[in-house]
Amino acid sequence: MIKVLIPTTLRSFTDQNSELQLEGATVREVISALADEYPNTKKAIFDENGVPRPFVNIFVGENNIKKLNGYDTELKDGDTVMLIPAIAGGAPEKSLISEERAEKLTNDEIMRYSRHLLLKEIGIKGQKKLKAAKVLIVGLGGLGTPLAQYLAAVGVGTLGLIDFDEVDSSNLQRQVIHGTRDVGRPKVASAKDSIKQINPLVKVETYNTMLTAENALEIIEQYDVVADASDNYKTRYLVNDACVLLGKPDVFGAMYQFEGQTSVYYAKEGPCYRCMYPAPPPAGLVPSCAEGGVIGVLPGIIGTIQANEVIKLIVGGGESLVGRLMVLDAWKMRFHELKIDKDPDCPICGKHKTITELEEYDYEEFCGIKKQQEEEAPVESITAKELHRRIEAGEEITIVDVREPHERAIVKFPNAKVIPIGQLARRQNELNPNIDTVFICKEGKRSILAVNTLREAGYKGQMYNLKDGINTWARDVDKTMPQY
């Protein structure tokens, strides 16, 4: 005879008997004898296909039959067989969306989001949270593109889009949410059209304006999470600060040339952007993508990582990038991960907060924008048309092109002397101080730097900056020249 011990949870199937005596030479025979005597136990131990339910374990003596011979484990008279349930549980996953807020899915949605529902980590529960979620995307450029496309496709209920800019043809190399015929349209309008095409079930709110200290709290307040896809320090600090004050996560992405960075700044759970970068670099030191360029797929990679982080925050679970900065070098194709600590002295999320509201904080000054403007003021500019007129009038003018060699390969400026910025100071004797000198670059920013550099180096001649760069020459003077 074999002694079979029944746990309390299964006794309703055995007429409350806790211990049974059954015959059988193997575990299979004993379980079969149990099922013969108490047919309901079969339902409790096996599923419809006769496979043992995962929570029921069978022990012979103190050994799990998984470690013996399974159901074919042989038994001898006097052995004890125990049915043992495994017990698990726990608190819910941390999610931005409470279970109460989760929205029911329609049959159409169940079909559309089927591949999410098949993931046990997301499932119906997670998808209902996505439907209830409101995500604000700041900037509809390179990073904003995959964010908007994927978050719309996966069924985020409400997307907010904020951008003041219009689509330019130089955006199309990477901002694939905008098409050729969208050039000249507001980016938020173009993006909204694309989103509706991808998933008409998504509600889209557009803000065709710049995010400012005055409107940031009012806008961000309405959202559960913010994805920072902006391209400038002022907006990054503004988004971070508003998120810290409102207790929301800031899913951050940035890129330049071949390098991308992404992290989740969430002061409730870890460091904020100011813990990582207490102050921005001096204005003008780090060039933007418009000056330095960016490889077309990079925003696709970084922006989709941001979208992935947004989804996890909403659904709950997984490991978020809170406290970690992912850095990608797309040219060498290497990812690095940096640990970021919370700064106890952080002015907005530390112990002694000095920033408690946005409107009193001068973001322009903090980011050196004002200072730069003041410094720039004394540099004299000349327009493309005026420069053309003076050349045509036969005036003697030295033109210095400070662009990089690979930029000059795109378009050369007629009769220009080529001196890289780094060599200007020591090569200043190549310039004649008695003749006016005009510096040119792509956008008229590096040429200002060139003028200031030479001035500091003691050059006394009259210097001009070609206003808005070589592109205006192409626009206003020589229409056969390409713009870039």
Binding site: T8, F59, P92
Partner: protein
């Protein structure tokens, strides 16, 4: 209803605080008479969930349960339920709790708010739903 001595309840709450920010878990031994459970003793189980999710998951392995069953029978008791803590979450069963729960057993949940035990509540699974069970602390 589950009848449990106050000192036993305090033991559970102390353990929930000690384990914070992780979840604690354990087995409750006692006897069942019709719908009333009488708690006799508890046995704390090392949370075996692992994989870095111990802050919101607990697992009592089949081996722990087997030893629990043997202990119960040697002492003329039954396993009547389990306790676990919800660090920084209310003492309400999660969907995960429900998905992994079994009938008859009492599931005691102690909420721990920033390190201090807050509320302990008990639930029983019936028709695949959790219903609150009265705790009578003596």
């Amino acid at each position: 209803m589950i009848v449990i001595e106050k000192s036993l309840l305090e033991k559970i709450e102390a353990e929930a605080e000690k384990s914070y920010p992780f979840e604690c878990c354990g087995i409750i031994f006692g006897s069942i008479e019709k719908n009333e459970k009488l708690a006799h003793s508890i046995k704390s189980i090392v949370n075996n969930f692992g994989s870095g999710e111990e802050h919101h998951r607990f697992l009592i392995t089949a081996e722990d349960m087997m030893r629990g069953e043997l202990y119960a029978r040697q002492n003329g008791l039954d396993i009547i339920g389990f306790y676990h803590s919800h660090p920084d979450h209310p003492a309400i069963p999660s969907d995960y709790d429900r998905d992994h729960a079994l009938p008859v057993y009492s599931y005691l949940i102690t909420s721990v708010k920033t390190g201090r035990a807050d509320i302990t509540a008990s639930y029983v699974l019936s028709d695949n739903k959790f219903t609150a069970e009265e705790i009578s602390a003596e």
